[in-house]
């Protein structure tokens, strides 16, 4: 008798969970927003292009060649995208390791952002693989190419995605109302954070180390044995600039979700982050200067690529660094946001200079991405934003967690 009741109760619960999930799938909010109207056609076109790409081969969609085998999809989607996702490890370091509670209110949204970035940029990597059905090989040991930097990066992507999911999972549990599971998942946070930071240090620099063997192919102003360190240091301010940028947009778009207390904290957070950015950018600039002097590259400065290098260094590292300092001193959110945007442009420029623009810079016919490559890239970014929005509207990411999660 008792058992039957229990079974019925279980069934009921399963049914209601199912109903809940189905209802959550429906869109919340307006459908015909300017963002949707612009992004939707691009996503559909991107999907069509992806079908063509797998049907006819990479050459049908991309401008890649035997000399330039990695283009926009690797140089921008993967290498630049992962740098921007660095905010998650920097912020978890500040909140969980340094116990800076001030930043706690934005930790979830940053981790979510980082997690989605990894999912989608690793996804973009799949698009670029010629034989994607073999992608599982380095995981299952057919074979373990342990001498490869890419082997390290691939494993780290996978492990870091798991770590980030664990970091974010309490929010999912709160959304589903799973109290016991939430408790278990929360207990795993610190371990995931420590593991995640270690992984991040290694694969952020590893993305730079990928290009170490392309010594003759990359312009000497961007090639040095210190690429891994430069990539690591720049991922700190790249990630934080992204946090400032994304945080400012979320603040406007999802204003209603943010509690009064956290709205106030938002400005404090941005000020604090601007100082961290300025500091790391100073270290980064100094490293670049040392490498430049050490490499004796004076002769290369008075060339078109030299001017390009100076533009990157002065216009997109030094200038935003000063703006971050200034914005921090005068407590101006506007200047900080401008600095964040300039920094992000600078990081895009830097990553593309190593991977695309400075790669085979001496070739008579340069690689320029096709509109189709650009469209697929945009489609990937928009899809990520759609998913991000879907999660924000449902799970306690920006808004406070439910009362039951706070009580103990």
């Amino acid at each position: 008798m008792n058992q039957i009741n229990l079974a019925a109760a279980n069934e009921n619960q399963a049914k209601s969970t199912w109903k809940f999930l189905l209802s959550e799938l429906k869109p919340k909010g307006k459908i015909f927003t300017p963002f949707n109207i612009i992004s939707f056609p691009i996503m559909i076109t991107g999907l069509v292009l992806i079908v063509i790409r797998f049907w006819k081969g990479l050459g049908a969609v991309t401008n890649l060649s035997q000399e330039v085998p990695w283009g926009l999809w690797i140089g921008f989607d993967v290498v630049t995208g992962v740098a921007f996702a660095g905010g998650a490890y920097v912020l978890t370091f500040m909140v969980y390791i340094l116990n800076m509670k001030k930043y706690h209110s934005i930790i979830r949204v940053t981790v979510l952002n980082g997690f989605l970035a990894y999912v989608f940029y690793a996804g973009a990597l799949l698009l670029d693989l010629g034989r994607p059905w073999n992608v599982i090989n380095p995981i299952i040991g057919n074979n373990f190419g342990t001498s490869s930097v890419l082997f390290l990066v691939a494993w780290h992507f996978l492990l870091y995605m798991i770590a980030q999911f664990i970091e974010f999972s309490p929010a999912v549990a709160e959304w589903l109302g799973a109290k016991r599971i939430r408790k278990i998942l929360s207990a795993m946070t610190l371990g995931a954070v420590i593991f995640g930071i270690t992984l991040s240090i290694l694969h952020q620099s590893g993305l730079g180390a990928l290009y170490m063997m392309a010594r003759e192919k990359i312009h000497p102003l961007w090639y040095s044995e210190f690429i891994p360190i430069l990539f690591f240091v720049s991922s700190i301010f790249a990630g934080l600039s992204m946090v400032i940028f994304e945080g400012s947009i979320s603040y406007k778009v999802f204003f209603g979700q943010i509690s009064e207390k956290n709205r106030h904290a938002h400005h404090e957070i941005i000020h604090g982050l601007s100082r961290v950015c300025a500091g790391t950018m100073f270290a980064y600039l100094f490293l670049h200067l040392l490498i430049f002097l050490h490499g004796r590259h004076w002769g290369l400065i008075n060339t078109p690529m030299g001017y390009w290098y100076l533009l990157e260094m002065f216009g997109f590292v030094l200038l935003p660094m000063l703006l971050f300092f200034y914005g921090y001193r005068v407590k101006s959110g506007l200047w900080i946001r401008i600095a964040a945007i300039l920094t992000m442009l600078g990081v895009i420029l830097n990553r593309l200079n190593v991977t695309v623009i400075g790669f085979r810079w001496d070739m008579p016919v340069r690689y320029i991405p096709t509109w189709m490559e650009v469209c697929v890239t945009l489609a990937v970014i928009f899809t990520e934003i759609w998913i991000f929005r879907w999660v924000i509207r449902r799970m306690p990411v920006l808004r406070d967690p439910p009362a039951w999660a706070k009580s103990h």
Binding site: L58, N99, G130, R131, P138, L202, M213
Partner: protein, 288 residues
């Protein structure tokens, strides 16, 4: 048997071959068998540009027929349907032929780059490509200083094409098709040591005809394809910015740092966490 040896090399030798010392022959020696890398010697002084080698290669691997010939002033390149190519240029010594194909490096950048060991330095010396492992990431192409691996961009099931030194033929006791086709002693097949000896002999016998440099003896840590030229290699447009250091050595420092980071950083982070924790933070942690 072949598979056994390969497995043995996989576990023991490959890291050495691809990364550090570059002498898997010694690793194999542990098993009581001593193998040397095979190689090919190309003698540009003897080559008359008959293209027999090119034809033999395309016929062996079923590539489309070759219709163009080496011409002064034009540069031909290997492609996804051409594994070896001859070029000719006008020099102070008259017309000189040069050859383009996989160099079969002792420590290949492509094999070190490959995360599935699809690009693989065999115990016998040839660098081969294994389709059942390759995921088509093209990192081998990014890494190869000689731009050898070619990718089929217009296929939904693309392969990486490059010279394999006719690995299957060697394993059956044969010699590479191109070498077999050459009637002018411009191509020789043998162990790398034999070929170096022969190359030096040729230089000594006719020092006026040969430049005193064997391209591939030291370049990129030593290569399986060795080339004799009438002029210094840089005068013939060979890549001389390559240096004598092996390419996998460039990423060695980074890869060797990985275990130390993994051991040192987590306890450090945990330590900082404990040190900065204050009484209220326990609750805060739960709140996540």
């Amino acid at each position: 048997m072949g598979l056994d040896r390969r497995n043995f090399l996989k576990t023991m030798g490959v890291a050495g071959a691809a990364l550090a010392v570059g002498k898997p022959s010694q690793a194999a020696g542990n098993k009581g068998k001593y193998t040397e890398f095979y190689g090919i010697l190309y003698d540009s002084v003897k080559c008359i540009g008959c293209q027999n080698c090119e034809v033999a290669c395309t016929e062996t691997y079923g590539f489309p027929e070759i219709t163009d010939t080496p011409l002064v002033g034009t540069e031909r390149h290997t492609s996804e349907t051409r594994r070896t190519i001859l070029n000719v240029q006008e020099t102070s010594r008259g017309e000189v032929y040069t050859r383009e194909q996989c160099m079969h490096c002792n420590e290949p950048a492509c094999a070190a780059a490959c995360l599935t060991q699809a690009m693989y330095k065999t115990e016998e010396g040839p660098v081969i490509w294994r389709g059942d492992k390759c995921m088509g990431c093209r990192y081998c192409m990014v890494s190869c200083p000689f731009d050898v691996p070619k990718f089929e961009y217009h296929s939904s099931n693309p392969k990486i094409e490059k010279c394999t030194m006719c690995y299957e033929r060697i394993m059956e006791g044969g010699i590479p098709a191109c070498v077999e086709s050459c009637g002018f002693d411009a191509l020789l097949f043998g162990t790398r040591r034999e070929l170096l000896t022969e190359a030096r002999k040729r230089i000594c016998a006719e020092p006026t005809k040969y430049s005193d440099h064997i391209f591939g003896e030291k370049e990129a840590g030593g290569t399986g394809l060795l080339m004799l030229t009438p002029l210094r290699p840089q005068e013939l447009g060979y890549r001389t910015n390559i240096g004598n250091e092996s390419y996998p050595a460039l990423t060695k420092g980074f890869l060797f740092a990985v275990p130390s980071v993994f051991v040192l950083i987590p306890p450090l982070l945990l330590g900082i966490h404990e040190a900065t924790k204050n009484k209220g933070s326990k609750q805060e942690e739960e709140e996540v």
